[in-house]
């Protein structure tokens, strides 16, 4: 890790910076959102989406490669450690990466002069989002049997969520049917929560519950998937 730290941080910066420049500065300057500045609307969305993307791919892609290609996963499966310990380790590793990314975006947003309320609840929700999508990464890495299909999983599951789940625009502008589907997805609740918290409103208990349930279910599914991978 310390050997690749420089590369790690600089490569982390690129994605978030592009989002902020393109959607925030570029497009966003002319847009007013619910009476506020578009930057203030979009930054919590970008934090949520990048917590999701980073945690998911940090765990999913790595673990899938280590299972199918490098076979380094065998070394862990051969060790007398429980599968829940293995999943917990992978999820925490993904969570750290997700958190680093999210904090970088917040720091950039402040440099761009955006006013956001970042309190303990806000960080809690970011943490929960990272945990949730890291656990989904474990499940995908264990279930998906080729590197190509792993990319497909991202394209069909992660990519649509990135754009639709209340990240760049409010989903109530879409037809009702889409709205219902989007309301079921975890990222929607992550962005709702972060946006509410950043604008100084309180926590949304229902959304928080949805995230907790998703995280628990994905974690359990991850443990089962590791047990079944033999």
């Amino acid at each position: 890790m310390k050997r690749t730290l420089g590369k790690f941080f600089t490569s982390r910066l690129v994605g978030p910076l592009l989002y902020l420049v393109a959607f925030g500065w570029g497009m966003g300057r002319s847009i007013q959102m619910n009476g506020g500045n578009y930057m203030e609307f979009i930054v919590p969305g970008i934090v949520a989406l990048s917590a999701m993307n980073t945690s998911f791919s940090a765990v999913g892609v790595n673990l899938n490669m280590s299972r199918l290609y490098y076979k380094t996963l065998d070394e862990y499966l051969l060790a007398p450690i429980s599968s829940s310990a293995l999943v917990l380790g992978k999820v925490l590793a993904g969570t750290v990466r997700g958190l680093v990314d999210s904090l970088i975006i917040l720091a950039l947003a402040f440099l761009f002069g955006t006013h956001l309320v970042v309190n303990g609840w806000f960080l809690m929700v970011v943490l929960l989002t990272c945990l949730l999508f890291s656990a989904l990464g474990v499940v995908a890495a264990m279930v998906v049997n080729s590197h190509e299909d792993m990319a497909n999983f991202s394209t069909f599951v992660i990519l649509p969520m990135s754009f639709l789940c209340g990240t760049f625009f409010s989903p109530d502008r879409l037809p009702k049917v889409f709205g219902y589907i989007i309301d079921v997805l975890p990222l929607t609740h992550a962005s709702y929560l972060l946006r509410a918290l950043a604008s100084g409103q309180g926590i949304i208990p229902l959304s928080l519950a949805v995230l907790v349930v998703y995280a628990t279910v994905f974690f359990a599914a991850g443990v089962v998937a590791v047990l079944k991978v033999r």
Binding site: K71, D74, E75, L77, L78, A79, P80, I81, R230
Partner: protein, 294 residues
């Protein structure tokens, strides 16, 4: 230098690994079809067979990386379906695929394994020094694993497998792709470990490797064990003397129990011929070659 490689307290000559009717089916393909096999304590056992015979699948089932679809395995008295962590402590595994963490140094690879097996720090450090000396990698301890040669990587994998003091070592094609020097070094390591009490089960398709290294050999073909015995017994079984005749570009092999019969047969032939002692390769080809035949 005498190194205490084995600490496991395995007593007597009892069978340390017992496979009964072990089977694995992938969809419609029967990779391993009802294997019955007993492996003695402190023996070097070689599993031989052409590619796709089911050797690797068998090893993966023995090391609990793949679930059998039938039958059972007892390792040192423990079922491989029950308390896995007990079995995992007994066995060391050197997989066929190079699966060191290449972003870590030699030292860190061993340390990771020690941590995964919950070895206390002091014991871990002492063991790592001991094993690095054993596999002659002490001076490369702080190099990245990626920088090692193929033979060194393989030796590091052996050191890693020995970290937690296992009594049984599984090696899947331990010398595949190595040059002759590196291969002999691995052979020496295996003999050295075995002389200190390690049971070794290895797979190979290098026949001379099985011949010089293994006490007993099992030959697998299409998921079944088709021959089992010491290399000498197997040679006796097909005939100790071979007559090779070149017949329109194809070599024909005939096996005989003794020289007289071989000479008698050879006397009636007009073609160019060679009379020699059989080796394990003849056994292998005789038993598997014709059907694999390609």
């Amino acid at each position: 230098m005498q190194i205490d490689i084995i600490q496991a307290s395995l007593g007597g000559d009892e069978q340390i690994i017992e496979l009964s009717q072990l089977a694995k089916k992938y969809g419609d393909v029967q990779a391993v079809a009802g294997l019955d096999l007993k492996i003695d304590n402190e023996e070097i056992f070689g599993l031989l067979g052409p590619n796709g015979a089911g050797k690797t699948t068998t090893i993966r089932m023995l090391t609990m990386l793949t679930k059998p679809t039938g039958g059972s395995v007892l390792i040192n008295g423990y079922e491989t379906t029950g308390d896995l962590s007990k079995v995992k402590k007994e066995i060391g595994v050197v997989p066929q695929h190079m699966n060191l963490d290449l972003e870590l140094t030699v030292w860190e690879n061993l340390e990771l394994h020690g941590c995964l097996h919950k070895m206390p720090r002091a014991e871990r450090q002492q063991r790592m020094q001991e094993l690095l000396a054993f596999v002659e990698l002490t001076d490369r301890a702080h190099d990245l694993a990626d920088k090692l040669s193929g033979g060194m990587k393989r030796r590091l994998m052996i050191a890693r497998a020995l970290m937690h003091h296992p009594g049984i070592l599984f090696m899947d094609e331990p010398t595949a792709g190595l040059d002759p020097q590196a291969r002999r070094k691995i052979w020496d390591l295996i003999r050295k470990m075995n002389s200190e009490g390690m049971t070794v089960l290895l797979t190979t398709h290098y026949i001379e490797e099985a011949e010089v290294l293994c006490h007993r050999v099992g030959i697998m073909d299409r998921g079944r064990l088709i021959a089992l015995g010491t290399p000498t017994e197997l040679k006796k079984k097909v005939g100790e003397i071979v007559v090779e005749t070149l017949n329109c570009g194809d070599t024909e092999y005939r096996f005989f129990a003794g020289r007289e019969q071989a000479l008698g047969y050879a006397g009636n032939l007009s073609a160019n011929l060679v009379i020699r002692e059989a080796n394990l390769e003849d056994v292998f080809v005789e038993l598997t070659g014709r059907r694999v035949g390609a």
